[in-house]
Assembly symmetry: C2
Homo-oligomer: 689 residues x 2
């Protein structure tokens, strides 16, 4: 449940009042009354600060935490996978075989991994809103807001040196400045084999019971030395128990809980079917590619995992929306709120038009949806070389503009992170690039057979021929070539005759026009409308609330407990020993084949009752992968790695009757590290023993 | 390359003059002048009759031949797969483990396999055309033609007792009555393991070089005794050699070679992308299902193979159409012919409007395409139980009508074959039915979210709930229940409260209306237009020609020879010993894992130079799988099982510069039967030794 590959651009929304153990709460607005009332728990500010500063955002799409005084950073294997794949070669496959560095010297540097640790939050809503004056067009409002956000960020960078992001919360209801300590030298310490980290594979993904050691240890370095974070989580050797109150501190990617009925219908009828077809297409393409050889399989592994993971998540979401009961409930809640707004003249004047404005934005989006996704969203060019070319081209053009007028990803304060990715030494495989680019060009012909731009890009060739020519012809695989263009500015890019740059330039005018339409006429209208809806909700319901997920730090909470499925009780935990029975039930084959390291310890482990994976009611979503689970004492008791199938509709509606977050247990991790891998140094670093 | 799952309904067309070794020739109109001129070969009528009557159509979607005096029928393993899957159980999986019956008593009866052997062809064009009088509407013409065809067939059945089909050739240019000897008691004699029959799996499918023992031996029975066909092919122990002239006698399913430029564009832009998305969706769904357990894998194997096979074939076809050079050539040929027609007032009066009428039919089709495919074509109901319910419902209704007025599949002469399938004892798996029905209902919501019929069918439930309820509620898994309704006629079906019958009834009015629109306004217009285009082609080019494929017996010919790919020469043959090297190149894993029987003989076979698979220029397409390859002496020298990737565009354009048909070699088959399987009885039956 890594963050979805195709993030839904700019559709960040806000949320209804918490029910049950609901909520992805802001660290500067935790629901202390709820904690007190439901669990008789009152966290101190120090408790919250410690958890916040021990929590890590993995910019490859997940969460994690510091778990030692020497900068040991724990996340899921499937979050670390991005790094593992990029450092692997034909001859040394870290994904398949796993890894353990016995000394600091053996720790392997990731090529482009960036970690962020949130240091402070500042509410800048007033300053952002002040930039927008009454009577502005939506385009002007959008430009003004973008300008002041870039300025705030750049001032903060200059003042503190920290990564500084203005985060849009409550879909524009509030703006908070997040300052992060950033680590860009991150090294691999320990990874188990993918065969146990992702044991059960796609069939078991989003299912429970599970038996996965989905963990990966990295270490953060500065100046070539391990860092010593002031805050890190103490490891609980006993870990979570049934009925424990637990907290999850992580970075949920995005949710759609404040979405209107009509907006969810748009997801059900347009966005999700479209996106699922893209996922299925890529899954079939890459599975085919991967099956052709062991080396192909290695090259495609990480991307294929991500696609299957997203496909399964979206299937769960669409299934929820296709259940009439779900939309019926949504419709009823919405009707009630609109009634309250309509009845109050003041509320009605302020917020009454929000729902129809959402409808209007969707109506504007529908006719350009496919073209926007293909031309600006990149679906026509499924190639990292093309994306690199596009970034270089725009970097050149945008750098000539004042900071506040740039496309948001090119604002000054974001350039270090952008360049970290742009100049990455991660391997690019010509054959795989050709396969994916050819298929995406072919898909573009399918959706726009008569578009002259398609013909211009193809230059009279078949998608296969054209893709092959572009991939073989470009020099952008070479990091030095990328740097020369990236640092050479607009003049250097303009002078380039690299064929991939030329194609990026060919489509850029149309892509920018679509982006402008989207930003000004859709995203901005949605932002303004949802800000109204969020405010209407504050006013009509009162009480504490939380914004939709934004891949920024949130606190969730819940109870460790099992659930009932098809009339059967499902226990809160699985045990280490159960792994072997689960493998045997599936013939010990394919996705259920255990690695040799585990088979060698079978007789020792088969009857091992140590808790291994467990479930809880905490509210999570993609991006929470790797989030630490802590108890009342702020001790590490587990690590989130999945949600069960019943949790998939949490995207738009939380429900903890049977939905559960799934974690690896802290005791199970220790047990495996000791008995299977014998990594006593690592265990000592975690436990002091 | 079994016949495609989703046959393109009713789009049977005609063809340009043969170039190179082109052509799927009618047995009653073989290109003797070409044989003579190119190969100095003059087949006698006896030679042709012998080959015709040795050739078999497998109604599960392939071809085959008699190869012994005791009714031994050889086809591909992947054609036999349908039977193998249906006779398998959780405890005895004929697909994975293979099978050999040592005695007739051990031969296992297939549950619903029907074999057809063509006995005679009679030209009935004049009688069919006489039924259509000038000034008839297209609907009336369609009804008149359907009426007379049913009458001819029924008369023939009554006179001869043979299966009798009026086949529409040259897209309505000619009508021939085909009479078949029919075998419905067919028993499994020998099947190798799927691991060697389909060695290399999906990655190697439609590729060359290959190393597959894609064969399966059945035996035809009558009155519980093996039949003794008057004609069967003599087995050549030496088999095909490089540069040999060879003939392929089989049942190509469908081709689109006479299609207009605009019609091919419709395939490229509408039909193929749509169909490929359906294939990908089902592939992902079933792969997921299959991976959940070994038993699931077994249950889904046959269908999944078929889907992957079709997906790869369609990908090849769309790739060809997306190559601008291909459509450019088609456009040029078409423009030339239209010019010739336009210049000649008589031709112009007779045929000049054909192309624009095709355009009009396509324009009529486009707006109902998706709904037609979902509601009448069955895409909304991917469930054999639903298809059974629909057939029972319509059988009841259609049986009350005069034979000539029925939907064509319910004509009297077709009922025995229809009931053979309807009352099949083939297993139906509730879990798999639920998964596929739920997914197809979900897909239907996606394409028609606001259709009241969708809501009516779902009855306020989610697709998953509704599918589960229908599959659990229906009694149609029980063959006796099916027979009671099928033999009880309209009254019995009307009285049924079976939920699946009720759903079939719910959609039947709309489905029939779509069918009527399709039959009357699209298929009939296309038929009339393509008949004109075919005739225009006869007139403007003269000479011999052949109609598009119709899953009826055809004769192809060609030369055994290799080809050049990416500058590399690819040999005409592979050798038995090469199998082990090919496995090792792929790590002996997954699709490249050889069965234990082969690994046990590795040291014996590794250096075995016996020809194994080979290629030739003969013109084939899906449905030709299992076709015998014979030499000048009418001896069996190989069995077609695939085409290389370059042959996929043969659907609409033959080209033997690099395109090749792929076969298993008769010597290789014997070698494997002797050395790997030691089935001396079978070898003796084939060779007399």
């Amino acid at each position: 449940m890594r963050k979805s590959l195709l993030a839904v651009l700019g559709l960040l929304l806000a949320l209804p009042l918490a029910a049950a153990d609901e909520g992805m709460w802001l660290f500067n607005r935790t629901p202390n009354a709820i904690f007190k009332q439901r669990y008789n728990f009152e966290p101190t500010q120090a408790w919250l600060d410690h958890l916040q500063k021990s929590s890590i955002r993995f910019n490859s799409g997940g969460s994690g935490s510091f778990v030692s005084a020497d900068g040991l950073a724990l996340t899921n294997h499937h979050v670390g996978l991005d790094c593992l794949a990029k450092i692997s070669t034909k001859d040394h496959d870290y994904v398949t075989t796993g890894y353990h560095a016995k000394t600091h010297a053996e720790e392997v540097k990731c090529v482009d991994l960036e970690l962020n640790v949130l240091q402070s939050i500042e509410d800048v809503t007033a300053r952002v809103n002040a930039s927008v004056t009454p009577g502005m067009t939506t385009a002007a409002a959008q430009a003004a807001r973008r300008g002041v956000m870039s300025a705030i960020e750049q001032e903060s960078v200059q003042k503190t040196g920290m990564r500084s992001d203005v985060v849009t919360l409550f879909q524009g209801g509030e703006y908070h400045l997040y300052r992060y300590k950033k680590y860009t030298d991150v090294r691999l310490v320990f990874a188990p084999e993918v065969g146990i980290a992702f044991f059960g594979g796609d069939p078991d993904n989003f299912e429970y019971p599970r038996y996965d050691l989905d963990v990966c240890f990295f270490r953060a370095y500065e100046n070539d030395k391990p860092v010593h974070p002031a805050d890190y989580l103490k490891w609980s050797e006993t870990g979570a128990k049934d009925n424990d109150l637990v907290f999850v501190s992580g970075h949920p990617g995005s949710t759609s809980r404040l979405n209107t009925f009509a907006h969810l219908q748009f997801f059900r009828d347009v966005a999700y079917p479209f996106t699922l077809n893209i996922f299925r297409r890529r899954e079939v393409l890459l599975t085919n590619y991967a099956q052709r050889s062991i080396e192909n399989d290695r090259r495609a592994h990480d991307e294929l995992f991500g696609i299957k993971n997203s496909r399964k998540a979206y299937l769960g979401r669409i299934a929820g929306l296709q259940d009439p009961a779900v939309l019926k409930a949504k419709g009823a809640t919405e009707a009630l709120m609109r009634q309250q707004v309509t009845r109050d003249p003041q509320l009605n004047a302020a917020y009454g038009d929000a729902w129809q404005n959402v409808d209007a934005a969707i109506a504007t989006y529908r006719p350009i949806y496919t073209e926007f996704r293909f031309v600006e969203g990149g679906l026509a060019f499924n190639s990292s070389l093309f994306q690199t070319a596009k970034t270089l081209l725009r970097l050149g053009d945008e750098s000539t503009k004042p900071n506040g007028e740039r496309l948001r990803e090119y604002r000054e304060s974001n350039l270090p992170s952008l360049k970290q990715a742009l100049y990455s030494e991660a391997p690019i495989y010509e054959d795989l690039e050709t396969v994916t680019l050819a298929d995406s060009l072919s898909n573009w012909i399918e959706v726009a057979p008569n578009d002259p731009l398609v013909q211009q890009v193809l230059a009279g060739k078949s998608p296969q021929e054209r893709a092959s020519e572009l991939v073989r012809g470009t020099k952008l695989r070479d990091v030095a070539a990328r740097k020369a263009l990236g640092e050479g500015g607009q003049a250097a890019v303009d002078a380039s005759n690299d064929p991939m740059i030329q194609v990026a330039r060919m489509v850029d005018a149309r892509a920018r026009e679509l982006r402008r339409q989207y930003d000004d006429n859709i995203a901005e209208v949605l932002r303004q409308s949802y800000a109204k809806i969020a405010n209407a909700q504050f006013k009509t319901s009162g009480g504490e609330t939380y914004p939709d997920a934004t891949f920024t730090l949130r606190l969730s909470y819940g109870t460790v407990k099992g659930f009932t499925e098809n009339g059967q009780a499902v226990s809160w935990e699985t045990e280490i020993g159960g792994t072997f029975a689960h493998a045997a039930e599936h013939g010990n084959e394919g996705e259920f084949k255990l690695p040799a390291s585990w088979m060698a310890k079978k007789s020792l482990l088969e009857s091992d009752k140590t808790p291994y994976n467990f479930v809880m009611t905490a509210d999570i979503i993609g991006g929470n992968s790797g989030s630490p689970v802590v108890n009342r004492n702020n001790e590490f008791v587990g690590i989130i790695f999945d949600g069960n199938i019943q949790s998939l509709p949490w995207d738009y509606q939380f429900d903890d009757r049977v939905g559960r977050a799934v974690a690896v247990h802290s005791a199970g991790i220790l047990d495996a590290l000791r008995k299977v891998y014998g990594v006593t140094g690592l265990v000592k670093e975690l436990t002091g023993k």
